[in-house]
Amino acid sequence: MEPRSVAIVGAAETTELGRIPGLSQIQLHADAALNAMEDCGLSPSDIDGVATAGEAPAAIAHYLGITPTWVDGTAVGGCSFMLHVRHAAAAINEGLCDVALVTHGESGRSRVGRGGFAGAPASLAGQYEAPYGLSGPPSMFTLGVLRYMKETGMTHEQLASVSVVQREWAALNPRSTFKDPITVDDVLNSRMIAYPFRLLQCCLVTDGGGALILVSKERARDFPTKPVYLLGTGESVETPMISQMEDMTTSRAFRVAGSRAFAEAGITHDDVDHVMIYDAFAHLPIYGLEDLGFVGRGEAGAFIEARNTAPGGPLPVNTNGGGLSYMHSGMYGMYALQESVRQMRGTAPAQVPDAKISVCHGVGGMFMASGTIIMTNE
């Protein structure tokens, strides 16, 4: 970091210290944050970066009404906040955000509303979602899809075509878990999991791993592999509670991350040769194509059904077979990144000829978070 390039302009503690049984842990974060904003004359709408530990950055951002373009949840114990400050300086210098907020709050003594993981009985999700008979992501991530179908006219057959097309890609990949062709009828006759989602519209559950090594572009010349350059990046979070999305038919986090990445890369959608969209469930490529701007509102189902994203189509999507057919360990994003790298190196089993730009788009939680990485080999 360039010396004197970043300064702390607002600082405050919670209104009270000591014993505060009247505030939950997340409210302690908010109280300190509001006090710091007051200290320097800012409001939540001025803030676009959030770093915290002990609570999730998405929980803090949404609680305060912030739409971040940068978050950091680095959690390394008591010195986490020093690291957050350092990361915030780097983020500001890099233009990932303009105003970063670092919060701490801990109901260490009174232990009020102290969660630690989503769904703890005193967390907001524990109070307002957990009691309604949830069975994990298949019964939650999918909750907005009937609304999407009503508003856009997407059919069950179009939604099923996502799984069919991705199975075609998977058939070209020797490492895919499932390779046998399937039809729309196969999808719509598979076991019901959470209406309108059936088994073949839900991701696999498998074991695996992956890793990436990144260096400067100068250093990259020293390696024997073909360099894959980062061309544009974006990130955002919305809410850890799917029921509290501002619109369950589109992801704000997708839109913020995607538009940021495209703007940074300085490209248009016509420049893109290859796309990965994290597909834990079949509606994610639908939401992703629309929220990233590849197609208009309500057009993605027909776009996929018409084989635009299939092998031989003009916009190859999820060319490894995706989480629906390739593999899904739980945190699938690494595998989407690996496939984008393979496509840019020219080594993918289902290689897109002459692909020069790949858009790799990930989701975190259930539309809670999003990250977009645009890569190029030029």
Partner: protein, 138 residues
Amino acid sequence: MADDYKGPVPVPTPETQDFWDGAKRGELRLQRCDDCSNVIFPARSFCPACACRSVSNFTASGKGKLYSYVINHRPPPGFGPDPHAIAIVELDEGPRMMTNIIDCEQTPEALVLDMPVEVAFTPITDEISLPKFRPVGG
């Protein structure tokens, strides 16, 4: 009391206590910002739209419409063997909340998006009643 309820039991925090006290009385409690009139749910002691720290609790109409849902065919332990709808209701006051739809067949034919619904509280412990919704006139 629904002695057979085996699911997770909400634990109120200072900010949400009014909501759960209201639920026990059979009232759906929301908050309104004293400055910008934004309606807030879940409860907190400030407005996420304008950061005003002055908000007031009020009893909502309890009326809304069915916004979206899934029918969970693999109910978790404690929720019986039959498929049940996990629903999102959009309240007339604006906020949306997760809930279940009661007094209604748990089928796509019976669960019609945008149908009017009204709150009905289900006690699960002496202190906690869950807000659920049923079709109006159903």
